[in-house]
Amino acid sequence: MADTAAHSPHPGAGHGPGDGATKRDFLKMVAGAGALVGAGAIAWPLIDSMNPSQDVLALSSVEVNLAPIPEGSGITVLWQGKPIFVRHRTAAEIKAAEDVKLGDLIEPQSDADRVKAGHAQWIVLIGICTHLGCIPLGNKPTDPRGEWGGWFCPCHGSQYDTSGRVRHGPAPLNLYLPPYAFENDTKIKIG
């Protein structure tokens, strides 16, 4: 009996080659699957620990006072680590944004869809170029604003209009809109 253990590489398995699935194969699969599940269960907390932590998620909203922003210029505030453009548009800028034919746009979207009803003078955008993540210029009236009077990205020359819609590549999409709401006429809450 003891000699069997020394002579057969698979003592007690009771099968030869070509028998098809055996109890040993089954046990191997179950053990392997169990080990894989265990390794996954150990790996997941480590991987998930790299996701935003609770204190980062807690910084989810910021209030902005609109009163000090003069017509024709904008400010940049920080929300979740990202720059947010809040710009006070002039009547001419609003008209330019509203009069554009949707067919001329790279990503067609009407100006009305990008501002809050009754607050057309305020445009609030995530100030990150949709090309490769640079911050476009154009909040200050003295900044280069590009041909369409909105924003101009210094990295690769993308241009946005006064509604923050891309008019000239290489950026493929309009500037993103953050979630926000008017608390009253001179105060918004972003996030």
Binding site: A2, A6, S8, P9, L46, S49, M50, S53, Q54, D55
Partner: protein, 421 residues
């Protein structure tokens, strides 16, 4: 030896790699068909467990470092942030913290195994010494890791341990200043401890590799302590010992999980949840449990330099152990007197552990001194002399004989997997 390797692997991709860099052949040889004594008991699990534990510590440590700030102003708060805000941060930190305790439990059992079964004797002296190097590196790593949370015990532990070096005549004071990077434990100390705490585990990985290389040259010792003589004495490492190690690994994770989920601060000192205060020493300074016996030796000697030297000497003596023990018989099973004295050594180490956890007064001082005395007596006097006086029990003829039931050993035609032995 230049030239392509003749790989026997059937899979074309594996074969292609193996021909150019025979790592698969190497793994197959060292962990697949590797001839291993057939009579291991569960004490032989602990090397593999230590390996698993090392990987666990490095993995959890790398992720902790992503959220830890090694700055005396930020360290304590960043650890609290890990506990409260980082996803699974509490789990990763508790696994790392208790993993350190588990690591020492595993390594101390591994050491116990080596001492009881004489694994340090020729030809395994170098293997043993590399193990002692790993132990020293582990101790340094654990000590510096304990400083990182920048609690009261971290700070005062760091102060006490670094001050040990001030016992060195003449240059002691300068060495301590150099270690601190200042005139007290402070931000520069914390910075360098973090750097080294991250570095040393990878040094340990390197020495573990050498430890395993040495092991695979001499082959494993076994509970009988006699050499492998014939292929019948061995079985291939896989699947026999991969499976046996897996059982141990499951038990290991059960114990670790029990600690992490039900008693995460079992080994911890509540004082370390108070931020470091350089102006106030806690009432009770106690090191982590795994340092208690050494701490007790330090305190048992009523002389600063003497205490420090005895403490380091208690590890140094292990380095020369292969030459202190003069008996040619490895396993304590066949050394009736050594076996009893060995248990006396174990008792004295546990006694030292208890002494280290108590204030050095009254009976604890006496116990500490007696246990310290026996510890050194055992290694420096008893082992050299005993080897000459003791009459060992008769050794079995071979490993396979007691296992296979005594019959005449089958010779000649042996099983395939054994032929390499």
């Amino acid at each position: 030896m230049v030239g392509l390797h003749k790989s026997e692997f059937k899979n074309p991709v594996i074969n292609w790699i193996d021909t150019r860099m025979p790592v698969f052949t190497m793994m197959q040889k060292e962990y697949g068909s590797f001839p291993t004594p057939r009579n291991f008991n569960y004490f032989w699990n602990f090397g593999a467990l230590a390996m698993v534990n090392l990987v666990l510590m490095i993995a959890t440590g790398v992720f902790l470092a992503m959220n830890y700030a090694p700055n005396s102003m930020l360290a304590f708060d960043s650890v609290e942030r890990i506990m409260r805000d980082v996803n699974w941060g509490w789990l990763i930190r508790y696994a790392h913290m208790n993993g350190a305790s588990m690591f020492f439990i595993v390594v101390y059992v591994h050491l116990f195994r080596g001492l009881y079964y004489g694994s340090y004797k020729a030809p395994r002296e170098l293997l043993w010494m590399l193990g002692v190097v790993i132990l020293l590196l582990m101790m340094a790593t654990a000590f510096m890791g304990y400083v990182l949370p920048w609690g009261q015990m971290s700070y005062w532990g760091a102060t006490v341990i670094t001050n040990l070096f001030s016992a060195i005549p003449l240059v002691g004071k300068s060495i301590v200043t150099w270690l601190w990077g200042g005139f007290a434990v402070d931000n520069p100390t914390l910075n360098r401890f973090f750097s080294l705490h991250y570095l040393l585990p990878f040094v340990i990985v390197g020495v573990v590799f050498l430890h395993v290389v040495a092991l695979h040259i001499t082959g494993s010792n076994n509970p009988l302590g006699i050499e492998v003589k014939t292929p019948q004495d061995t079985i291939p490492f896989h699947p026999y010992y991969t499976i046996k190690d897996s059982v141990g690994i499951c038990v290991f994770f059960i114990v670790l999980a029990a600690l992490v989920f039900f008693a995460p601060n079992f080994f911890a000192s509540p004082d370390n949840y108070i931020q470091a205060n350089p102006l106030q020493t806690p009432a009770e300074i106690v090191p982590e449990w795994y340092f208690l016996p050494f701490y007790a030796i330090l305190r048992s000697v009523p002389n600063k330099l003497g205490g420090v030297m005895m403490m380091f000497g208690s590890i140094a003596v292990l380095f020369v152990l292969p030459w202190l023990d003069t008996s040619p018989v490895r396993s304590a099973r066949f050394r009736p007197i050594y076996r009893q004295l060995f248990w006396l050594l174990v008792i004295s180490v546990f006694a030292l552990g208890a002494v280290g956890a108590h204030r050095p007064q009254g009976i604890w001082v006496v116990i500490g001194r007696l246990a310290t005395l026996y510890y050194f007596l055992h290694f420096l006097v008893i082992l050299p002399v005993l080897g000459k006086l003791e009459r060992p029990l008769p050794l079995p003829e071979s490993i396979s004989r007691p296992v296979l039931g005594g019959g005449k050993m089958p010779g000649g035609a042996t099983a395939k997997p054994m032929e390499k032995a």
